[in-house]
Symmetry: C3
Subunit: 152 residues, 3 copies
């Protein structure tokens, strides 16, 4: 690639596949990160459904490059949750987005920063040979996928 070129695709191979039953009262993001650490999973993709006792969602301000947060203290259905795990500073990092619904059917969605598990079923596929790592991206201010360099 020429200088300034950006790698936009990472070819991977399907590795181990797991169905997970997230621990009651655990934080769903911590649960996934810990599972990856224990099982030496560097990169993975997952979906999840279930319910949370409470949750914290983030919305990224594309101008200011900072997150605003919303804490949901009431129980929520996980109407949708899609995410991935990939290396950041040599440790597994869990990135998940979700749509949550309260008992009145009101939906809220965004970056899932955390959520206390009532019950959750996760379908996770390890992705091998990814050769990517999260690095700070100047354009967006986010930590995005790049090819690791010898300094990584």
């Amino acid at each position: 690639m020429n200088k300034g070129d950006l790698k936009i695709s990472f070819k991977v191979e399907g590795g181990r596949i797991f169905l997970l039953r997230a621990k009651h009262d655990s934080d769903i993001i911590d649960f996934l990160t810990e599972f990856a650490k224990k099982n030496e999973i560097a990169t993975a993709a997952f979906t999840a459904i279930g319910a949370l006792k409470s949750a914290k969602l983030g919305f990224y301000d594309q101008e200011k490059h900072e997150y605003s947060e919303e804490s949901l203290s009431a129980p929520q259905e996980i109407a949708s949750c899609i995410g991935n795990i990939s290396p950041k500073e040599n440790k597994p990092f869990t990135h998940a987005h979700a749509v949550l619904t309260d008992q009145n059917g009101k939906t809220c969605g965004g970056h899932l920063l955390g959520g206390k598990v009532f019950a959750a079923e996760i379908h996770l596929t390890e992705l091998e040979g990814a050769k990517l790592t999260r690095k700070n991206d100047d354009v967006t201010g986010l930590s995005l996928w790049k090819i690791p360099t010898s300094n990584s």
Copy 2:
């Protein structure tokens, strides 16, 4: 495992993969369950998009351990649908969550109890060797994944 330990991960192998075009006017949950029965699929994960003529969503009361339901009689886009199929009392059981949107863009989400198909495209992956079954869980009142015992 010691008494009281809970199995939280089930390693599976990817089996058959299908793209499904759900039958017009069928119930999307029944369609999936029947497809699993006909094709002897014990366990699977799926995603779906499309549109429903009507739908019924459930919200679980985490205190009372009972579902409240909301019937949506107007047409809905399936903005998101994530789910799985797994054995419950030795028969395939379909568990799906969805985010639905009406013609005015209003979203509603939760446990998808049923929905009359207008058109739906489903990506389903069979998961083999799961060795799990749904059993009643005292803590949540839900039917969750456990290892089958000789009495299962």
Copy 3:
């Protein structure tokens, strides 16, 4: 199949798997279609999360058989995005549904007609041997999966 029978399941095989980092300022639907063309991917399933600078959603009128559209000019989180790529008139066609959230947590969902990428992470699996193509369906007015005929 007898005349009038409709093929509802297409058995496929898992092909190449990619993690994609959609190009900043590209259109997410065009990005996916172009990626499929360049890599000779006929059929695939994907999920995506991230954020869009703006987006256009469609809602299908099941009676009138036409889309109404809603343009969202403000930044949106991609709280959920599920889709597939399949052949239509011998070219890859991207079909995606999404749930988007604005900075105030307000969600909107539907058929994702387009969206200007701020940042997006896509997990895409090629599906080989699908032997399907999109053809106009009289019942719904949509372009749905059918078996290609010699006239396709």
